[in-house]
């Protein structure tokens, strides 16, 4: 008897020493999330590292693109460009194109820790059963655009397939890739808050801003929707019954300050509660971000689901950069670029004396991101002047570029 117990104890000891140790992520099996069948997110400002946060309904599992690997490294679960490292597949290969093309993919795996300081925390569906650990994927691009996906566990793929939240085109049944911006290109596809105005002050050192905004119930791209690619196939419980509907409501406001136009940590714990209209002071070279969470099935999300940014007095704005002017025959070709187009209404070209040449040039930046421009103007309209500015008309006023001559 004693011998049997000794053997048993030895086996338990061996098992405890050699078995795969319990860890924060899914252990022993793969559990992917993101784009699995060639789909992408489109019209996302992705000339830098896009922010993302994924959490599971009813579970504590989370993963945050800003803590997976510290910037500027990019081994997170959002692919801005093919060839970059990713947390799921290992390398971005799913058709993310190149940075700045507006196309991104989600490529994650709840089982992968990998060479990361902090991988996923928790496992959404350790039983690998339907109806457990529905993933909510929050994407926020570099210009304030974004989309929120809600995707259930799929048995075949052993994970959460982002494409199943895409819409199907009426008539053709073709898949429509989810966009980071609304059809008119003016706001995020999943908009959790509306910007109502800002009162700014301060100087070149510190900026003060009091932001007015109100919360909105965002559009959620769910695979439970009948017009989704998934068409509810994964919107079932472990017994195959329809998954009870989930409620999504906007949550309270938060704020934080940080660099403009870069990766934004969406972890709610890194933000401070904010009451709209409250004046905040922040460094003038930074941005003030005001965002809000989601309330899913009555529980506040661990992440900020949408955010707007208020540039400080010296922060990068929708100013025309690298302005060049060149005479070509009877025309003057003016070219420039922008890093950001947040709040931009359009551009005009003005002579040094202030005369406007030609009409207004519409913004091209995807969802407020940067873009490049080139316009041809008639040389004769400049008369005897040979210098010009490109002027950005923004919701905050006008921004003049550096003077360019031809």
């Amino acid at each position: 008897m004693l011998r049997s117990l000794s053997c048993l104890a030895l086996i338990v000891l061996v098992a405890s020493v050699c078995a795969t140790p319990a860890s924060a992520q899914c252990a022993g099996f793969s559990q992917v999330f993101g784009h699995q069948i060639g789909g992408t997110l489109v019209r996302c400002a992705d000339n830098g590292q896009v922010s993302g946060f994924v959490f599971a309904i009813g579970a504590t599992a989370t993963i945050n693109s800003s803590t997976v690997l510290a910037p500027p490294q990019t081994a997170d679960f959002i692919c801005e460009a093919d060839g970059e490292p990713s947390q799921g597949f290992g390398t971005c290969v799913g058709g993310a194109g190149v940075r700045g093309d507006g196309i991104i993919t989600i490529d994650g795996n709840w089982s992968n820790n990998g060479p990361l300081p902090t991988g996923p925390s928790g496992c959404p569906d350790s039983a690998q059963a339907n109806g457990v650990g529905r993933n909510v994927m929050i994407i926020r691009d570099l210009a304030g655009g974004g989309a929120i996906l809600s995707v259930g566990f799929d048995q075949t793929f052993s994970g959460f397939v982002a494409e199943f939240a895409d819409r199907l085109e009426t008539g053709t049944g073709n898949e429509i890739f989810t966009s980071c911006v609304s059809a008119d290109g003016l706001s995020a596809s999943s908009k959790t808050l509306m910007f109502d105005g800002v009162t700014k002050g301060g100087d070149t050192t510190n900026t003060t801003a009091a932001v007015q905004a109100h919360a909105m119930t965002p559009k959620i791209f769910s695979d439970c929707d009948p017009d989704s690619y998934g068409a509810g196939g994964d919107c079932i419980t472990a017994t195959g019954a329809p998954e009870p509907p989930h409620t999504f409501a906007p949550g309270p406001f938060y704020s934080k300050t940080g660099p403009c136009g870069t990766l934004l940590d969406l972890n709610r714990g890194t933000w401070a509660p904010y009451s709209v209209g409250t004046s905040l002071t922040f460094p003038s070279q930074s941005c003030l971000f005001v965002g809000n969470t989601l309330v899913v099935d009555g529980v506040e999300s661990p992440a900020i689901a949408g955010a707007l940014s208020i540039p400080g007095n010296l922060a990068p704005a929708a100013r025309a950069l690298d302005v060049r002017a060149k005479q070509a025959g009877g025309d003057v070709v003016v070219s420039w670029r922008t890093d950001s187009e947040i709040g931009l209404q359009g551009f005009t070209v003005q002579t040094k004396s202030g005369r406007q040449i030609g009409g207004m040039v519409a913004p091209k930046g995807i969802g407020g991101g940067g873009a490049s421009y080139s316009v041809s103007l008639k040389r004769g309209d400049f008369k005897n002047e040979k210098s010009l500015y490109v002027v950005s008309a923004t919701t905050d006023g006008q921004l003049k570029s550096d003077l360019a001559s031809f």
Partner: protein
Amino acid sequence: MMTLRLSRPLLVVLVASALILALGGLAVASNMGFKLNKPIVFTGTGQIGSNWTSLPFNNPYGTCQGLCTQLGLITLKATVQVLDQNLGSFTQATCGAPACTALTLIPGKGINIRQPAGGPASVIIVGSHNPTLSLTIPKAGTGQIGNLWYSLPYHTTAVTAQDLCNQIGMPSTGTARGIVTRVNAPTGQFVQGTCGAASATSLNLVLGEQVQLRNPAAVSFIPAHF
């Protein structure tokens, strides 16, 4: 009528020659082509339908997509998964997706095929062995680090998990031992054999299935085979 009588020395030479030829035949056989009809269990709950699959060390597939195409797995539904034993990370790709074309299959390493109903219920896997290929099980680490998905050769001499423990040199005594794991695709159960324990001697290896090897220390081996 003439009769042929073999002298005793000649008989010895003939027997020896026959033996050499037979051995030579076996040696050729060790590099012979393989063709295995492997059943595919369709995807179900949890690990049901996780078809842990061995591939011959030399095979014509090259990539996940090559495998999908040649095995006739369902496009945009069947998935192929591999595990990086050094990083401890899984990589999964769907047949027909760009990732599948990019996923190179590594000789000696097994794969996990998952496919919903509607695809082929069995697939023909072909290839041949590379008797010089050495594999390394990294030292067991956190999470999946150190878990080698081992493509069991189709002419392996190992019958049980314990045989693998012995052949590879995974410790079967002491407190830190090797572990062999297989997945029962129809039931979705993980079956684990600890070297030196009854669980290893009772864990029968299945032709065409990969197994997961985990060892307390790094070890390299050249698989034994007929």
